[in-house]
Symmetry: C2
Subunit: 151 residues, 2 copies
């Protein structure tokens, strides 16, 4: 998935959540894989698009603007494999396939919304900081913090 070197075997999950904590810094830790998963910009968009209920392939394609057929299929397959999305085929012609969030998939909506909420609260600050920073660079001004050695 991430293309990085993997040990190649089944991993012992107890290794990482000793004391109930995961270690995302460990390349082999599953929590790291979550990050890889939401790293795909389509994954999050598709999950969000399914928040209100089942959607057909073509609906998703329209809904998630800019996604290619290939990427949508690929994303849906990965989500299905992870048990976040259920695929239902209707035996009829023309074909009809519905995609639905599983319970696990639905549960992901909550933390995702937490992120979206943060965005709504702080994105202005981020955008402002970005603009300020870019201005400063144009001036060649060095506005970095320099602390005394202190010793």
């Amino acid at each position: 998935m991430s293309g990085g070197p993997r040990r190649g075997g089944v991993v012992n999950q107890d290794r990482w959540h000793a004391g109930g904590r995961w270690d995302p810094y460990d390349q082999d830790c599953p929590s790291r894989q979550l990050l890889d998963r939401i790293g795909d910009r389509w994954t999050v968009l598709v999950v969000l698009a399914l928040a209100d209920g089942p959607r057909r392939f073509s609906e998703l394609r329209r809904s998630v603007g800019g996604v290619s057929q290939k990427m949508l299929t690929q994303t849906l397959r990965a989500l299905e494999r992870d048990g976040l999305v259920r695929r239902t085929v209707f035996a009829q012609v023309p074909p009809r396939v519905d995609y639905t969030l599983t319970d696990t998939g639905t549960s992901l909506l909550e933390p995702l919304r937490g992120l979206l909420d943060w965005s709504s609260a702080h994105m202005d600050d981020v955008l402002a900081s970005r603009a300020r920073h870019d201005e400063g660079e144009a001036d060649g001004a060095a506005h970095e913090r320099v602390a005394a050695s202190g010793g």
Copy 2:
């Protein structure tokens, strides 16, 4: 970053969550930009690594296993530009540079932890589903849901 065309002005956030809903499919919607940011897998890892206080460059490099020098620098620069991280240079030799989470950066920890919590709660399910799915594929068994046309 995403390289896409931007309108360049300050955006009115009310535009996107009319009725409490976001439109991450809109290029200009803040939620889309957040997605771009956490899309880099290093960004999240670095922010998390700074949760417990200031860290030096070399500490981060060790802490965030697998990150290259180039990627760490790049990530840190982006975070600084966005006002999530503050860079402090100590005028001494050998050089010492500290990175600290700003208030905005710190506030991001909460939703991030929400994601990590989700991961710790559901990663087992995801991993199990994945294994099950892969097994089924090896068997060539079709365990996909086929619904009746239903009339």
